[in-house]
């Protein structure tokens, strides 16, 4: 993009307008050095070529555990582009935003119902920001009671954002080990739970794809010492219509709409991380809050206990529109079927691959299952090699080396939108890779062979970082 083009060329036409800009010369810069000079077709060719170097859900199966890479429905995209949603300004008078507020209110209500919580804020821009906001609610609530406390308990299977968010919220992290069934034992929590602990963060189903069936007992332990229970709702896709976190003793949770509610991942965002709470935390929710008033909706900021604002305006509204379209498309029955089929697909893959790869934990799985490379290690073939070889078969690899408690983890989440035929093709590929590991391990170690580039030298990238294009110097 910086290496082609010609001086003076642009893909943008705007008629010349006469007159001074009105700005004093000493405030102005020279032209932007190095900026592109391309025509419209050149730009499109460039980005179309780049797109061909990417995998995407509409081209490949993406069984990325914990990421819920489900199909992103086209109707969501169509409605999000309606001018009534895309061309509205957040600081316009509320009278011009009633449709948007009604949608947001409807989405809050629907998410609260799905998760069994009492109130929801849609402001957090992503799951991690939701975690931060959720922990701030906990902190505000405990501070009001007299002591914000010092620690957050996080299991060793947690996402890295859990401890990172805890630190940002001013808490120390206490890590606890999951037991040999891949679950958190109430006794393990009891051992570290005391009046200095503000909350326990739990993911359920956890990142091993296992349902924490003792969650109510765990919540009792935490509550008995005056702490709160935070649920990382990253795996909500396993629970819709099957169990509600609100019934599990959970006080606060976040939901990743780009996972459960089908909004596209976009190569790494934008997402959205709404936070749901029980009534005890309602007064602390970020402002502004959308309230029904008379025939319409209004914004209110007059909540003296509120934690403040975590994001400008109303969060990632465009993402929220897509999520709302998804929820009304599926309705109560469709959402329940979604989670059921997610479980069916995961259990099917687990059954078909358990003779080929070692399963990490014998417990029943929910929407994802975790294998290890233990059998393949005998031939010095690692999870990384298996993952890279899958690329040659046209599949995106599972999530690898996570959760950290499983050595050489391969975490597979097929999602509900994949057909049995696709699952069978993936199972065949994995089976064939396992055979290759026995017969020709080098084929795996040097994989991928058919991708636009081969394995990249990440050490070189990190040792001498080149983070921007620079003109070649002669």
């Amino acid at each position: 993009m910086f290496e082609s083009g010609s001086p003076g060329r642009t893909g943008f036409f705007w008629p010349e307008e006469a007159g001074p800009t009105g700005l004093p010369q000493e405030l102005l810069r020279d032209e932007i050095p190095g900026f592109p000079e391309l025509g419209e077709l050149e730009v499109l060719r460039h980005f179309t070529r780049l797109s061909h170097l990417n995998f995407g859900i509409e081209s490949q199966f993406y069984p990325l555990g914990s990421c819920t890479m489900k199909y992103n429905p086209k109707v969501n995209e169509a409605v999000a582009r309606l001018p009534g949603f895309s061309l509205i300004h957040p600081l316009a008078p509320p009278a011009l935003l009633q449709g948007a507020f009604e949608l947001l209110f409807g989405l809050e209500t629907a998410l609260a119902e799905i998760a069994g919580m009492d109130a929801v804020t849609l402001q957090p821009a992503a799951g991690a920001q939701g975690e931060l906001a959720g922990l701030m609610l906990v902190r505000a609530y405990l501070s009001e009671k007299g002591n914000p406390r010092r620690k957050i308990i996080v299991p060793d299977t947690a996402h890295g954002t859990n401890p990172a968010s805890s630190t940002l919220c001013g808490y120390d992290v206490v890590q606890i080990r999951s037991n040999d069934q891949g679950m958190v034992a109430p006794s393990a929590v009891a051992k570290v739970m005391d009046e200095s602990v503000a909350a326990l963060m739990l993911t359920n189903p956890n990142t091993l794809g296992i349902f924490e069936k003792n969650i109510n007992a765990i919540a009792d332990v935490v509550h008995s010492k005056g702490g709160l229970v935070y649920l990382d709702g990253a795996n909500m896709n396993a629970l819709m219509g099957i169990a509600k976190p609100g019934h599990m003793g959970v006080d606060v949770l976040h939901i990743n709409l780009h996972k459960t509610c089908s909004t596209p991942h976009g190569g790494g965002g934008p997402g959205a991380g709404p936070v749901g709470v029980k009534n005890l935390l309602r007064d602390y929710l970020p402002v502004p809050r959308i309230m029904k008033s008379g025939n319409g909706y209004e914004l209110r900021e007059d909540f003296s206990k509120a934690i403040g604002r975590v994001r400008s305006f109303f969060g990632n509204f465009g993402v929220l529109v897509r999520a709302y379209a998804y929820i009304i498309s599926l309705g109560s029955d469709g959402l329940a079927e979604t989670s059921r089929m997610a479980l069916l697909n995961a259990n099917y893959i687990r059954r078909k691959l358990e003779s080929v790869f070692q399963i990490a934990y014998p417990e029943r799985c929910m929407h994802e299952c975790v294998f290890t490379d233990r059998l393949q290690q005998k031939r010095h073939v690692s999870t990384l090699d298996i993952a890279k070889r899958l690329l040659d078969y046209g599949f995106h690899p599972p999530t690898i080396y996570f959760p950290l408690v499983v050595s050489g983890a391969l975490m597979i989440e097929p999602t509900e939108t994949e057909s049995r035929e696709t699952l069978d093709a993936f199972i065949d590929a994995m089976t064939s890779i396992a055979r290759e590991a026995e017969e020709n391990p080098d084929l795996l170690k040097t994989a991928p062979h058919s991708t636009p580039v081969r394995r990249l030298d990440e050490a070189r990238a990190a040792r001498k970082p080149v983070l921007r294009w620079e003109p070649k110097r002669d």
Partner: protein, 149 residues
């Protein structure tokens, strides 16, 4: 795996070469192998005080970060200025050019807690046994391909 005689070793996989009151410190062959390709080294400056068993520096590979703990306490006389620009030296020559800091020791008794080469070799063998039953420890560098928000 190389464990030179004449050095002292810590459980955190640092080595110490003692010359009078001065200690030269680096990380062991085993440590660099476990980390994989080292891409970044952060060291204290001369004059800084280092407390025994506290972290004095950081080494990073592509996908892992590790603190480097002081096997003995004292004042930094010199840090290896070549490492920030060529961190791979720690992989290539951990006991030589990959040295990290020179310390003026504050308490020579600190050395008492350290292992001899023989003890350390045994310690590493034990650690490997815990990690991996059947393997020889020559593992692919772990890729933390996690997480997903």
């Amino acid at each position: 795996m190389e464990v030179p005689e004449g050095l002292k070793y810590s459980k955190e996989h640092e080595w110490v070469l003692v010359e009078g009151n001065v200690a030269i410190i680096g990380i062991t062959e085993y440590a660099q192998q476990e980390l994989g390709d080292i891409v970044y080294v952060e060291l204290p400056e001369a004059g800084e005080k280092v407390v025994k068993d506290d972290a004095f520096g950081v080494v990073e590979s592509v996908k892992a970060v590790s603190d480097v703990y002081a096997p003995v306490g004292g004042t930094v006389l010199e840090a290896n200025d070549a490492l920030p620009d060529s961190p791979e030296t720690v992989n290539d020559d951990p006991y030589g050019d990959g040295w990290m800091i020179k310390l003026e020791m504050s308490d020579k008794d600190d050395l008492k807690d350290l292992m001899t080469a023989e003890e350390y070799a045994e310690y590493v063998a034990q650690q490997k046994g815990e990690d991996e039953d059947e393997d020889d420890g020559e593992e692919e560098e772990e890729e933390d391909e996690d997480e997903k928000k």
